[in-house]
């Protein structure tokens, strides 16, 4: 699929399909306010264009995310993008993606 943007926020999703890991053009995934307990490793490892992942208001903890293989790579991609953009969204909050350092400041 050519999927670049997917918004599934405010539903009752218990999980995201692993097939999203093959959406190699997926840039933005909004999944806030669901019933997620994690994200599939296939998504973080396979969706290599993903730079904006919103998971607020779910049951996912930062610790859980850190343990998902591929999360570090996702973070690196996202930080790389932010470094290039350099705008007011630097150090964006949890809703703007997942910023590890800011999360840990709280």
């Amino acid at each position: 699929m050519a999927l670049r943007s997917l918004d599934v926020s405010h539903n009752k999703l218990a999980a995201l399909p692993t097939s999203l890991g093959r959406a190699t053009r997926l840039h933005t995934l909004s999944a806030a306010s669901n019933r997620l307990r994690g994200v599939p490793r296939e998504l973080l490892e396979g969706a290599t264009a993903l730079v904006a992942l919103t998971l607020s208001d779910n049951g996912v903890t930062m610790q859980q995310l850190l343990e998902v293989p591929g999360f570090e790579a996702y973070q690196a991609r996202r930080k790389g993008r932010l470094d290039k953009i350099v705008d007011a969204k630097l150090g964006a909050d949890f809703d703007e993606g997942i910023d590890y350092e800011r999360f840990h400041r709280h």
Binding site: M1, A2, L3, R4, S5, L6, D7, V8, S9, H10, N11, K12, L13, A14, A15, L16, P17, T18, S19, L20, G21, R22, A23, T24, R25, L26, S30, A47
Partner: protein, 167 residues
């Protein structure tokens, strides 16, 4: 209607039954379909045949499930399903027809002559997702010449399905 690019029916009181999914699935140029802010509880599977779709907005409805073959919309770039009642997403999302080197299915072949060749090539395979997308409930027999098959079969294949003969 064949040339319709964009259809916006946002902010109405459309129920799923009020949307002509069969017709929409047959519009070869339909790229944007905006049905947000309605009362749609179910999407007709025929929509998966509208393979020109790039933007599909079904946000703010009452969806509880989606057609399993939504992934057949190989050109879909933006999908908004927010503010519904979905408890799961189709396993096809992002995956079904992605083995085409960036091309959507349908870009591999154009014209009936190429189609015949392709059908011979895939005969014997079971293209489960494709067949299901054939809209059994609509009972439509479409010309696949205008929506030709992809150059390669998708990766998700199952070994048996007798109705493939209808191709």
């Amino acid at each position: 209607m064949q040339g319709l690019h964009k259809l916006r029916c946002s902010h109405n009181a459309l129920s799923g039954a009020g949307v002509p999914w069969t017709t929409l699935g047959l519009l070869p140029a339909l790229e944007q379909l905006l049905l947000d802010h309605n009362t749609i509880a179910a999407v007709g599977p025929c929509i998966c045949q509208a393979t020109a779709l790039r933007v599909l907005d079904l946000s703010h409805n009452a969806l509880t499930e989606l057609p399993p073959d939504l992934g057949a919309l190989a050109r879909l770039e933006s999908l908004d399903l927010s503010r519904n009642q979905l408890s799961a997403l189709p396993d096809s999302l992002g995956a079904v027809f992605d083995g085409l080197g960036g091309k959507g299915w349908g870009e591999g072949l154009v014209g009936s002559e190429g189609l015949e060749v392709e059908v011979r090539r895939i005969r014997g395979w079971v293209w489960r997702d494709f067949i299901k997308t054939r809209c059994e409930e609509c009972q439509t027999t479409r010309s696949f010449a205008t929506h030709p098959l992809s150059a390669r079969p998708p990766t998700r294949l199952t070994p048996t399905l007798p109705t493939l003969a209808t191709l």
